[in-house]
Symmetry: C2
Subunit: 325 residues, 2 copies
């Protein structure tokens, strides 16, 4: 697992997969989970799976953005799908497309968890408009970092363990992580209390179980089926746990002094434009990206047309009714 055990919901997905597969095979098929760094580092899982240093990994595919930005598509891109749309896209064709790409990297993948919508991170000072993004040293990586750089942000890559001290000392101005449940553990509220939403660069973040392709292909059918069903159950479980825990965590963070702030319209609009320009550039340069991105974005656009009518109007009423009580 490319994360530490302290991210217990995501790491719990790894453990749940192992537990299910053991139970489903009467203990014959054992998977032994290791946290980030115990066998290989977070960013080395794709290589380690490909060369069979490890047989499988559990990871956010955006860690491998440097190999090919296409890896980000399995994880979630700025202004991409929300969590339900992501699952629908993955299981109804998207994951098969991703696997034609992952096969080039000697891997086969199954969806293995989702954080749901993420927050836009913790800021030492208020960000009132796009101007406040100029020169802002924000801990963020990958594709989202390169898009925010077009808006004037200085993306900084830092290991999670170093972020608190960097924020406290002002070595960085802001840091994004995931959402309230995970963010709460890191204590950023004490040193960077402005907590922005929505996390437009991750409408959701999916993680995958990655298998060495040859080893996957050699598995007996019952074991493939055990991994597939167990991965689906773990995928569901992770999202359910975030959805169940984030409300209390947000309330606790507000109690601890978090100042909730929405990103301003000019920031969202500039980020939307920069994101889609980046996607068009990538589509013109990279066939892997083009094939999968165009499929995903068509799904997104169709899905939101329906979402707006039903899910969104239901949620709108529920939110208004709640406020009135």
């Amino acid at each position: 697992m490319s994360l530490p055990k302290s991210l217990d919901i995501l790491y719990g997905g790894t453990e749940l997969l192992a537990k299910y597969v053991s139970e489903l095979t009467d203990g014959k098929f054992q998977i032994q989970p290791f946290a980030s760094g115990e066998l290989v580092g977070a960013g080395q899982i794709a290589d380690a799976v490909a060369n069979q240093t490890i047989e499988m990994g559990h990871s956010a595919s955006q860690y491998y953005y440097g190999k090919d930005p296409t890896f980000t598509l399995g994880n979630g891109i700025p202004f991409g799908l929300n969590a339900r749309q992501m699952n629908a896209w993955l299981y109804e064709g998207g994951n098969d497309l991703l696997n034609t790409f992952y096969a080039k990297h000697k891997m086969h993948a199954l969806p293995g968890g989702n954080t749901g919508g993420q927050m836009g991170g913790w800021y030492r000072k208020e960000i009132k408009s796009l101007e406040d993004f100029q020169g802002l040293r924000l801990r963020i990586g990958g594709l989202a970092g390169s898009i925010l750089a077009k808006l004037g942000v200085v993306p900084i890559q830092l290991p999670g363990s170093d972020v608190y001290v960097a924020l406290e000392r002002g070595a960085i101005d802001a840091a994004e992580f995931t959402g309230p449940y995970d963010d709460q553990k890191l204590g950023f509220v004490k040193v960077a209390p402005y907590y922005y939403y929505p996390g437009f660069w991750e409408g959701c973040a999916a993680v995958h179980f990655f298998f060495n392709l040859d080893l996957w292909n050699d598995l007996p059918p019952a074991y493939k089926s055990a991994l597939t069903a167990a991965a689906a159950a773990a995928n569901m479980d992770v999202l359910c746990k975030y959805d169940a825990q984030n409300p209390d965590a947000l309330r606790a963070l507000l109690g601890a002094g978090a100042q909730l702030r929405p990103f301003s319209q000019d920031i969202l609009d500039a980020a939307w434009t920069a994101s889609h320009e980046t996607y068009d550039e990538l589509s013109s340069q990279n066939e892997n990206w083009k094939t999968i991105y165009s499929n995903m974005i068509e799904f997104r656009n169709k899905s939101y047309a329906w979402w707006q009518v039903d899910e969104y109007s239901y949620d709108s009423y529920m939110i208004r009714a709640r406020a009135r009580k």
Copy 2:
């Protein structure tokens, strides 16, 4: 399965469970699916499972509303949870609570599918305000029907197969079914073109796999685990298929003449009030209801506080950006 094979996404959940369980047990544990009416009628599954006429069933628990309104809580109530919240509630405690209730009816249940948000049905004439609900003969059953009756609607129970002719002849004024993908097959658009949203009486509809409690308890651990993992995978699969198919179906329905209309504010407000009055009445009369309902509604209220900040603000921006393009 308490539905016909023509509802292929929900019936597909039954088939997927059977397929997974067979694969996971190397063909040793076989489940044979039957559609509604092949062994027992749609409304008889709870009794048939309890008395072991059948060993398990796949059904919307609201069919058994007549036994105890508490059955509706596993399915979805007016102004209840949306689909993601429903899964989070079920897997993080709600389903255990439901199982303490189902045990009184000699059943054990696992979540086994979700339609996502439903539509508010098909109407021969426009419903411009609460006044137009007076005397309106609407095909709807169960708890939602009894709540709408407080608003002046005349709830009519009709088998799905009889609805089209009743609408065509004006024997009923309106009918609710599920959402675009299923509704499209029934052709209601030709005889009742006004298609209302949101389906406030079903923010989502969950279905469950029901097992005879004694038979469930006697299963070997590996078989329990196979059913649990397979049910989770089927639960996910059903929702993903609806989410993937509804957008195209809505577009096709609009092409066929469907007139999309939002329910008016006075209807939603009156229905909200009538629903919560009904829930309070039930809580004062029925301990089963009170225990599970109060847990669910606390979850709903907490969840929407977080949903509003992040998921909803993300969806809001995505919908606005899409409209601007």
